[in-house]
Protein backbone atom coordinates (compact mmCIF):
# COMPACT_ATOMS: atom_id res chain seq x y z
CA UNK A 1 0.00 0.00 0.00
CA UNK A 2 2.76 2.43 0.98
CA UNK A 3 4.53 1.69 -2.32
CA UNK A 4 1.50 2.77 -4.32
CA UNK A 5 1.21 5.99 -2.32
CA UNK A 6 4.94 6.66 -2.57
CA UNK A 7 5.08 6.02 -6.34
CA UNK A 8 1.97 8.09 -6.95
CA UNK A 9 3.40 10.90 -4.87
CA UNK A 10 6.62 10.92 -6.90
CA UNK A 11 4.64 10.88 -10.16
CA UNK A 12 2.48 13.77 -8.94
CA UNK A 13 5.67 15.70 -8.08
CA UNK A 14 6.96 15.13 -11.63
CA UNK A 15 3.60 16.15 -13.11
CA UNK A 16 3.70 19.35 -11.09
CA UNK A 17 7.25 20.08 -12.23
CA UNK A 18 6.22 19.46 -15.84
CA UNK A 19 3.26 21.83 -15.47
CA UNK A 20 5.47 24.54 -13.94
CA UNK A 21 7.99 24.32 -16.77
CA UNK A 22 5.81 23.92 -19.85
CA UNK A 23 2.49 25.66 -19.22
CA UNK A 24 2.07 29.24 -20.41
CA UNK A 25 -0.99 30.28 -18.44
CA UNK A 26 -0.22 31.66 -14.97
CA UNK A 27 -3.17 29.88 -13.36
CA UNK A 28 -1.95 26.57 -14.75
CA UNK A 29 1.55 27.23 -13.42
CA UNK A 30 0.02 27.85 -9.99
CA UNK A 31 -1.89 24.57 -10.31
CA UNK A 32 1.48 22.98 -11.08
CA UNK A 33 2.89 24.33 -7.82
CA UNK A 34 -0.14 22.93 -5.97
CA UNK A 35 0.43 19.54 -7.60
CA UNK A 36 4.07 19.59 -6.55
CA UNK A 37 2.92 20.34 -2.98
CA UNK A 38 0.37 17.55 -2.97
CA UNK A 39 2.94 15.06 -4.25
CA UNK A 40 5.30 15.92 -1.41
CA UNK A 41 2.49 15.46 1.12
CA UNK A 42 1.70 12.04 -0.34
CA UNK A 43 5.36 11.02 -0.13
CA UNK A 44 5.65 12.18 3.50
CA UNK A 45 2.53 10.28 4.58
CA UNK A 46 3.63 7.16 2.65
CA UNK A 47 7.05 7.17 4.31
CA UNK A 48 5.49 7.39 7.77
CA UNK A 49 3.28 4.35 7.17
CA UNK A 50 3.88 1.37 9.45
CA UNK A 51 2.91 -2.04 8.03
CA UNK A 52 -0.51 -3.07 9.29
CA UNK A 53 -0.84 0.14 11.27
CA UNK A 54 -3.98 2.14 11.76
CA UNK A 55 -4.71 5.85 12.22
CA UNK A 56 -3.09 7.35 15.35
CA UNK A 57 -6.45 7.94 17.02
CA UNK A 58 -7.07 5.92 20.16
CA UNK A 59 -10.58 4.69 20.88
CA UNK A 60 -12.32 1.44 21.83
CA UNK A 61 -10.58 -0.54 19.05
CA UNK A 62 -7.05 0.76 19.71
CA UNK A 63 -6.52 1.03 23.44
CA UNK A 64 -3.74 2.96 25.14
CA UNK A 65 -1.70 -0.12 26.12
CA UNK A 66 -1.09 -1.50 22.62
CA UNK A 67 -1.01 1.87 20.87
CA UNK A 68 2.71 1.70 20.13
CA UNK A 69 2.27 -1.60 18.27
CA UNK A 70 -0.76 -0.70 16.19
CA UNK A 71 -0.63 2.93 15.04
CA UNK A 72 1.29 4.67 12.28
CA UNK A 73 3.73 7.47 13.07
CA UNK A 74 1.80 10.63 14.07
CA UNK A 75 4.74 13.03 13.66
CA UNK A 76 4.91 13.20 9.81
CA UNK A 77 1.13 13.52 9.70
CA UNK A 78 1.35 16.58 11.94
CA UNK A 79 4.09 17.93 9.68
CA UNK A 80 1.91 17.37 6.60
CA UNK A 81 -0.89 19.30 8.31
CA UNK A 82 1.53 22.20 8.72
CA UNK A 83 2.71 21.82 5.12
CA UNK A 84 -0.84 21.85 3.74
CA UNK A 85 -1.64 25.12 5.51
CA UNK A 86 1.57 26.74 4.32
CA UNK A 87 0.91 25.47 0.78
CA UNK A 88 -2.50 27.11 0.98
CA UNK A 89 -0.93 30.40 2.03
CA UNK A 90 1.61 30.25 -0.80
CA UNK A 91 -1.12 29.43 -3.34
CA UNK A 92 -3.26 32.34 -2.14
CA UNK A 93 -0.27 34.68 -2.47
CA UNK A 94 0.54 33.42 -5.96
CA UNK A 95 -3.07 33.93 -7.01
CA UNK A 96 -2.94 37.48 -5.67
CA UNK A 97 0.21 38.10 -7.75
CA UNK A 98 -1.51 36.59 -10.79
CA UNK A 99 -4.45 38.95 -10.31
CA UNK A 100 -2.10 41.91 -10.08
CA UNK A 101 -0.22 40.81 -13.20
CA UNK A 102 -3.46 40.36 -15.10
CA UNK A 103 -4.44 43.90 -14.21
CA UNK A 104 -1.06 45.14 -15.46
CA UNK A 105 -1.07 43.54 -18.91
CA UNK A 106 -4.61 42.27 -19.37
CA UNK A 107 -3.43 38.75 -20.04
CA UNK A 108 -2.33 35.72 -18.06
CA UNK A 109 0.11 34.47 -20.69
CA UNK A 110 3.56 34.18 -19.12
CA UNK A 111 5.24 35.05 -22.45
CA UNK A 112 3.90 38.61 -22.32
CA UNK A 113 5.79 39.40 -19.10
CA UNK A 114 9.27 40.18 -20.37
CA UNK A 115 10.30 42.93 -17.94
CA UNK A 116 12.68 40.74 -15.96
CA UNK A 117 13.79 38.52 -18.82
CA UNK A 118 17.38 38.70 -19.99
Amino acid sequence: MEYIALGTGMLVILAGLWAIMTRKNLIRIIIGFSLFDTGIHLVLVAISYVKGGTAPILDSTVCIQDAAQRIVDPVPQALVLTAIVIGLGVTALMLAFAMKMHKEKGTLDIRSFKDLKW
Binding site: M10, P56, T82, V85
Partner: protein
Protein backbone atom coordinates in the same frame (compact mmCIF):
# COMPACT_ATOMS: atom_id res chain seq x y z
CA UNK B 1 15.06 22.84 -28.29
CA UNK B 2 13.22 24.15 -25.27
CA UNK B 3 11.13 20.99 -25.06
CA UNK B 4 14.24 18.83 -25.00
CA UNK B 5 15.64 20.95 -22.19
CA UNK B 6 12.42 20.55 -20.18
CA UNK B 7 12.41 16.84 -20.80
CA UNK B 8 16.03 16.60 -19.67
CA UNK B 9 15.26 18.38 -16.40
CA UNK B 10 12.28 16.13 -15.80
CA UNK B 11 14.27 12.98 -16.51
CA UNK B 12 17.11 14.16 -14.28
CA UNK B 13 14.67 14.85 -11.48
CA UNK B 14 13.09 11.45 -12.02
CA UNK B 15 16.50 9.75 -11.83
CA UNK B 16 17.23 11.77 -8.69
CA UNK B 17 14.12 10.62 -6.85
CA UNK B 18 14.11 7.05 -8.19
CA UNK B 19 16.56 5.70 -5.55
CA UNK B 20 14.28 7.10 -2.85
CA UNK B 21 11.41 4.97 -4.14
CA UNK B 22 13.61 1.99 -4.91
CA UNK B 23 15.33 1.77 -1.54
CA UNK B 24 12.15 2.31 0.45
CA UNK B 25 11.44 -0.83 2.43
CA UNK B 26 8.50 0.23 4.58
CA UNK B 27 8.47 0.38 8.35
CA UNK B 28 7.76 -2.63 10.51
CA UNK B 29 7.58 -0.66 13.72
CA UNK B 30 7.29 2.94 14.84
CA UNK B 31 10.37 5.16 14.70
CA UNK B 32 11.81 6.26 18.00
CA UNK B 33 10.03 9.60 18.29
CA UNK B 34 6.63 8.24 17.28
CA UNK B 35 7.15 5.35 19.68
CA UNK B 36 7.86 7.79 22.50
CA UNK B 37 4.64 9.69 21.81
CA UNK B 38 2.65 6.43 21.70
CA UNK B 39 3.86 5.13 25.07
CA UNK B 40 0.92 4.80 27.52
CA UNK B 41 2.48 7.11 30.12
CA UNK B 42 3.05 9.84 27.52
CA UNK B 43 -0.43 9.41 26.01
CA UNK B 44 -2.05 9.88 29.41
CA UNK B 45 0.17 12.88 30.08
CA UNK B 46 -1.54 14.79 27.25
CA UNK B 47 -4.79 12.75 27.43
CA UNK B 48 -5.78 13.48 23.86
CA UNK B 49 -7.30 10.53 21.96
CA UNK B 50 -6.06 11.91 18.64
CA UNK B 51 -2.28 11.62 18.78
CA UNK B 52 -1.81 13.89 15.76
CA UNK B 53 -3.56 16.64 17.69
CA UNK B 54 -1.33 15.91 20.67
CA UNK B 55 1.72 16.42 18.47
CA UNK B 56 0.34 19.49 16.67
CA UNK B 57 -0.95 21.38 19.72
CA UNK B 58 1.40 20.40 22.54
CA UNK B 59 4.66 18.69 21.52
CA UNK B 60 5.13 20.71 18.31
CA UNK B 61 2.81 23.56 19.34
CA UNK B 62 5.50 26.10 18.55
CA UNK B 63 5.35 24.98 14.90
CA UNK B 64 1.60 25.52 14.94
CA UNK B 65 2.18 29.01 16.28
CA UNK B 66 4.56 29.65 13.40
CA UNK B 67 2.05 28.20 10.96
CA UNK B 68 -0.69 30.48 12.26
CA UNK B 69 1.63 33.47 11.91
CA UNK B 70 2.42 32.45 8.31
CA UNK B 71 -1.31 32.42 7.57
CA UNK B 72 -1.63 35.81 9.23
CA UNK B 73 1.26 37.14 7.12
CA UNK B 74 -0.40 35.82 3.96
CA UNK B 75 -3.66 37.54 4.84
CA UNK B 76 -1.83 40.77 5.70
CA UNK B 77 0.19 40.78 2.46
CA UNK B 78 -2.88 40.09 0.34
CA UNK B 79 -4.83 42.84 2.07
CA UNK B 80 -1.94 45.24 1.51
CA UNK B 81 -1.37 44.09 -2.05
CA UNK B 82 -4.84 44.06 -3.53
CA UNK B 83 -6.28 47.57 -3.70
CA UNK B 84 -10.01 47.85 -3.37
CA UNK B 85 -11.75 48.38 -6.68
CA UNK B 86 -14.04 51.40 -6.92
CA UNK B 87 -15.64 50.42 -10.22
CA UNK B 88 -18.85 48.52 -10.17
CA UNK B 89 -18.76 44.78 -10.62
CA UNK B 90 -21.75 43.62 -12.65
CA UNK B 91 -22.78 40.05 -11.97
CA UNK B 92 -25.53 37.89 -13.37
CA UNK B 93 -28.35 37.31 -10.92
CA UNK B 94 -28.12 33.98 -9.14
CA UNK B 95 -30.81 31.38 -9.56
CA UNK B 96 -33.45 30.95 -6.90
CA UNK B 97 -32.30 27.38 -6.20
CA UNK B 98 -28.72 28.46 -5.49
CA UNK B 99 -29.58 31.36 -3.18
CA UNK B 100 -32.11 29.29 -1.22
CA UNK B 101 -29.72 26.36 -0.91
CA UNK B 102 -26.95 28.72 0.24
CA UNK B 103 -29.24 30.14 2.94
CA UNK B 104 -30.08 26.64 4.17
CA UNK B 105 -26.53 25.31 3.99
CA UNK B 106 -24.69 28.28 5.54
CA UNK B 107 -25.62 27.64 9.20
CA UNK B 108 -25.16 23.90 8.77
CA UNK B 109 -21.66 24.38 7.38
CA UNK B 110 -20.73 26.74 10.21
CA UNK B 111 -21.98 24.18 12.74
CA UNK B 112 -19.99 21.43 10.99
CA UNK B 113 -16.86 23.58 11.11
CA UNK B 114 -17.35 24.32 14.81
CA UNK B 115 -17.95 20.60 15.46
CA UNK B 116 -14.76 19.68 13.61
CA UNK B 117 -12.53 22.08 15.53
CA UNK B 118 -14.10 21.42 18.94
CA UNK B 119 -13.64 17.65 18.55
CA UNK B 120 -10.10 17.91 17.20
CA UNK B 121 -8.71 16.02 20.20
CA UNK B 122 -11.07 13.05 19.72
CA UNK B 123 -11.75 12.59 16.01
CA UNK B 124 -9.89 13.37 12.80
CA UNK B 125 -10.01 17.10 12.38
CA UNK B 126 -8.92 20.17 14.24
CA UNK B 127 -8.56 23.90 14.05
CA UNK B 128 -7.23 24.19 10.51
CA UNK B 129 -9.75 21.79 9.01
CA UNK B 130 -12.68 23.37 10.87
CA UNK B 131 -11.48 26.83 9.86
CA UNK B 132 -11.35 25.75 6.22
CA UNK B 133 -14.94 24.46 6.44
CA UNK B 134 -16.06 27.80 7.90
CA UNK B 135 -14.27 29.64 5.11
CA UNK B 136 -16.01 27.46 2.53
CA UNK B 137 -19.34 28.46 4.08
CA UNK B 138 -18.31 32.10 3.70
CA UNK B 139 -17.33 31.65 0.05
CA UNK B 140 -20.72 30.04 -0.61
CA UNK B 141 -22.40 33.15 0.78
CA UNK B 142 -20.06 35.41 -1.22
CA UNK B 143 -21.04 33.60 -4.42
CA UNK B 144 -24.73 33.52 -3.63
CA UNK B 145 -25.09 37.16 -2.49
CA UNK B 146 -22.26 39.14 -4.11
CA UNK B 147 -23.72 42.55 -3.36
CA UNK B 148 -24.11 42.04 0.40
CA UNK B 149 -21.17 43.77 2.15
CA UNK B 150 -19.05 41.72 4.55
CA UNK B 151 -18.02 43.16 7.89
CA UNK B 152 -14.26 42.87 7.53
CA UNK B 153 -13.65 44.71 10.78
CA UNK B 154 -15.46 41.99 12.70
CA UNK B 155 -13.39 39.34 10.93
CA UNK B 156 -10.11 41.05 11.78
CA UNK B 157 -11.15 41.56 15.42
CA UNK B 158 -12.12 37.90 15.66
CA UNK B 159 -8.78 36.93 14.19
CA UNK B 160 -6.71 39.17 16.48
CA UNK B 161 -8.56 38.14 19.62
CA UNK B 162 -8.20 34.44 18.76
CA UNK B 163 -4.49 34.89 18.12
CA UNK B 164 -3.98 36.74 21.42
CA UNK B 165 -5.90 34.06 23.35
CA UNK B 166 -3.82 31.32 21.69
CA UNK B 167 -0.54 33.00 22.65
CA UNK B 168 -1.91 33.84 26.10
CA UNK B 169 -2.93 30.25 26.84
CA UNK B 170 0.47 29.07 25.61
CA UNK B 171 2.24 31.56 27.89
CA UNK B 172 -0.01 30.51 30.78
CA UNK B 173 1.40 27.03 30.33
CA UNK B 174 4.87 28.45 30.89
CA UNK B 175 3.74 30.41 33.97
CA UNK B 176 1.72 27.81 35.90
CA UNK B 177 2.50 24.59 34.01
CA UNK B 178 5.73 22.92 32.98
CA UNK B 179 6.48 24.93 29.87
CA UNK B 180 5.25 26.96 26.94
CA UNK B 181 2.10 25.40 25.45
CA UNK B 182 1.71 22.93 28.31
CA UNK B 183 -1.88 21.70 28.21
CA UNK B 184 -2.06 20.64 31.85
CA UNK B 185 -3.10 24.13 33.01
CA UNK B 186 -6.66 22.78 33.00
CA UNK B 187 -7.80 19.43 34.47
CA UNK B 188 -7.01 16.62 32.04
CA UNK B 189 -10.43 14.95 32.35
CA UNK B 190 -11.33 11.42 31.30
CA UNK B 191 -9.54 9.98 28.30
CA UNK B 192 -11.72 9.88 25.18
CA UNK B 193 -14.43 12.21 26.54
CA UNK B 194 -15.22 15.68 25.20
CA UNK B 195 -13.83 17.37 28.30
CA UNK B 196 -10.33 15.96 28.18
CA UNK B 197 -6.79 16.87 27.12
CA UNK B 198 -6.73 20.03 29.26
CA UNK B 199 -6.29 23.17 27.20
CA UNK B 200 -6.06 21.38 23.81
CA UNK B 201 -9.75 21.78 22.76
CA UNK B 202 -9.73 25.44 23.79
CA UNK B 203 -6.49 26.20 21.94
CA UNK B 204 -7.72 24.33 18.88
CA UNK B 205 -11.08 26.12 18.96
CA UNK B 206 -9.33 29.49 18.91
CA UNK B 207 -7.00 28.27 16.14
CA UNK B 208 -10.11 27.24 14.21
CA UNK B 209 -11.77 30.63 14.71
CA UNK B 210 -8.57 32.38 13.70
CA UNK B 211 -8.07 30.30 10.56
CA UNK B 212 -11.73 30.63 9.59
CA UNK B 213 -11.67 34.42 10.00
CA UNK B 214 -8.36 34.72 8.17
CA UNK B 215 -9.35 32.60 5.18
CA UNK B 216 -12.70 34.40 4.95
CA UNK B 217 -10.82 37.70 5.00
CA UNK B 218 -8.58 36.52 2.13
CA UNK B 219 -11.63 35.46 0.12
CA UNK B 220 -13.35 38.80 0.73
CA UNK B 221 -10.19 40.59 -0.41
CA UNK B 222 -10.08 38.53 -3.58
CA UNK B 223 -13.72 39.31 -4.27
CA UNK B 224 -13.40 43.03 -3.57
CA UNK B 225 -10.77 43.61 -6.30
CA UNK B 226 -13.00 42.31 -9.07
CA UNK B 227 -14.45 44.92 -11.37
CA UNK B 228 -15.63 45.16 -14.93
CA UNK B 229 -13.05 47.46 -16.41
Amino acid sequence: MKNIFTLMILVAFGIMIYPLVNSFKGNDKLPELGNYYAQPENVTKVNSANLVTAVVVTYRGLDTLGEVSILFLTAAIIAFFLKKQTGKHEVRENSEIFTTAAKVLFPLMIILGVYIFMNGHLTPGGGFQGGAVIASAVILMLLAFPEVPVNQKLLSYMESISGIVFVGLAALGALIGFGYLDNAILPLGTFGKFLSAGAVPIIYSFVGLKVGAELSNILVEFKSVQSNE
